[in-house]
């Protein structure tokens, strides 16, 4: 390559990356970035693929078609990552990178990597990176409602966008294994969730613990996939019975879910939670020793988060399911449903 052109190309590339980063981090501008990334992906598809991946925004059956289960058991629609070319797969990741915060994006990749690990170690071809699906409801738009779905084993992400408003509710994250080695490093896709929950629990005094700890087993999520539109009676300790520091810890824990989305909207969601913190509950079920397999729930007027280790014969700390919901705005209904 011409030595004079190379530095120029580097400068141009750096400028374009910088420009994207600025666009992506400016509040109110990220939807345009997500639309651009989605259009780039859609433009790379042929007509048959486009017909498979884009659904009508009113298609409620597709809206609710998500699960924690592998695709061999729960049939997803849309396009399978394994059926895409490498540039198309990278374009899908580009959409997620535009929609998510850097830590949210990393978490999602680590969950997918865990499934790849599971495939390699179990020899089961129903697992792995190829088995994730992408789909859309509606056309990418900076003003009209539309939706991005990305899911597979232990991942059911539903991002509804209406103008500059976005929500991840309802979405499922999980991991098996919840801890694995990659390139000599220990990876824990849901490690922050686990550590912050135990830190919050250990900050509670004896009387607070009596309120927070439920006296029975929680063997699964209560409001997992398939339980749309339900709100259960909250239990545990109420935010009004927590200290200021403990309330901050509770919000910090919740930010592991609310913060998956891009910072521009994640902050607004956390601010909304902070406003309702006195009416937000924290419940715990199971052992209290740090790192043990315990269930917890955060429930407030606009949020339900559950974390449930799966006691299915193996080490429950290595197989985790979680759910994130907004009882007032799952699928962003308050922004578009009339």
């Amino acid at each position: 390559m011409n030595k004079k052109i190379l530095p120029l190309l580097i400068v141009l590339l750096a400028a374009s990356v910088s420009s994207f980063a600025q666009t992506n981090s400016a509040p109110g501008a990220a939807t345009a970035g997500i639309v651009a990334a989605t259009n780039q992906f859609l433009a790379s598809l042929d007509e048959a693929q486009r017909r498979k991946v884009v659904f009508d925004f009113k298609d409620d059956a597709q809206r609710r078609r998500w699960s924690n289960l592998p695709n061999a058991i729960f049939k997803r629609q849309g396009l399978r990552m394994g059926d895409l070319t490498q540039p198309q797969r990278e374009a899908v990741l580009g959409i997620l990178a535009a929609a998510f915060s850097s830590q949210g994006y990393e978490k999602v990749l680590q969950i997918v990597d865990a499934d790849e690990w599971l495939k390699k170690s179990s020899g089961e071809t129903m697992f792995g990176r190829d088995e994730y699906h992408v789909s859309f409801l509606g056309q990418p738009s900076t003003s009209e409602p539309w939706m991005i779905q990305f899911g597979g084993h232990h991942l059911g992400l539903n991002i509804t966008l209406v103008g500059e408003q976005r929500t991840l509710a309802p979405s499922h994250t999980g991991a098996q294994p919840a801890i694995y080695e990659l390139e000599g490093k220990t990876v824990r896709p849901l490690g922050h969730e686990t550590d912050k929950a135990f830190a919050l629990l250990s900050s509670l005094n004896e009387s607070q613990r009596k309120l927070a700890i439920l006296g029975f087993q929680m063997r699964d999520l209560v409001l997992g996939p398939g339980r749309d539109g339900q709100t259960i009676q909250p239990e545990g300790i109420k935010g009004s019975a927590l200290s200021e520091k403990q309330r901050d810890m509770l919000l910090d824990l919740a930010s592991e879910w609310t913060g998956i989305l891009h910072e521009a909207v994640a902050k607004a969601k956390l601010d909304e939670m902070r406003k309702n913190i006195a009416e937000t509950w924290f419940a715990w079920s199971g052992p209290t020793e740090k790192g043990s397999a315990a269930y917890f729930r955060i429930q407030g007027p606009t949020v339900v988060i559950e974390y449930a280790p799966q006691r299915l014969g193996g080490d429950a700390t290595k197989h985790i399911h979680t759910i994130y919901r907004d009882p007032t705005n799952d699928y962003g209904v308050k922004w578009w449903k009339r």
Partner: protein
């Protein structure tokens, strides 16, 4: 996007490093029968919305109880018969008084879907307790359905009406039985001023 793509490309060689990892047991709810009940309390009665999810290893056992003629389909009669057997395994009481359960609806997925371990049977029962007296009440539910393989959840749904307030929920260790304490405070009828004589 560029960052995402370059990040992905950076990771590609790393993702190939999966050699020599210890084997892991893939586990979903294989030998358990999840029975998750949501309890909806209303001023004149209660609804039980129960989702049943048989695990892969015991799904055949459950299917055999439902698809009695083994023709690979669940008929209305077979579904109703299974619902009836389940009803006999449920006991619901209000303030110690046993309530009569009525099957309000059901939805069965085909047997082949149940055998995958992800198929869900949805069932709804209702019971009327007549006019409640204002004040505190206790609703008690016991589920004895297939206890050898059963895994249970019981949760009260947040009442939609302000006249009912859940005050506490208690369960036994495995949640096969539970008590929901609630209060009922009927709203006094508002005087219709427009109809009042002048």
């Amino acid at each position: 996007v560029v960052e995402a793509v370059s990040g992905t490309l950076r990771r590609l060689p790393l993702l190939l490093v999966f050699l020599g990892v210890p084997s892991v047991v893939f586990a979903h709810r294989d030998d358990q029968y999840l029975q998750a009940t949501l309890v909806v309390i209303e001023p004149r009665g209660v609804r039980l919305e129960i989702n049943f999810t048989p695990g892969v290893a015991i799904a055949e056992q459950v299917v055999a109880r439902i698809d009695r003629d083994r023709n690979g389909e669940i008929s209305e009669n077979e579904a109703a018969a299974y619902a009836d057997s389940l009803k006999r395994d449920l006991t619901l009481r209000i303030d110690g008084r046993k309530l009569e359960l009525r099957l309000a609806g059901f939805e069965f997925v085909p047997p082949e879907e149940l055998r995958t371990g992800s198929g869900i049977i949805e069932m709804e029962f209702s019971a009327s307790f007549g006019a409640l007296t204002p004040g505190a009440h206790t609703l008690a539910l016991k589920n004895r359905h297939l206890t050898a393989i059963g895994v249970y959840l019981i949760n009260a749904v947040q009442p939609r009406l302000a006249t009912i307030q859940i005050t506490s929920q208690k369960r036994n260790d495995n949640q096969s039985s539970g008590e929901i304490e609630f209060t009922f405070h009927p709203v006094p009828l508002k005087t219709d001023r427009s109809a009042a004589p002048k």
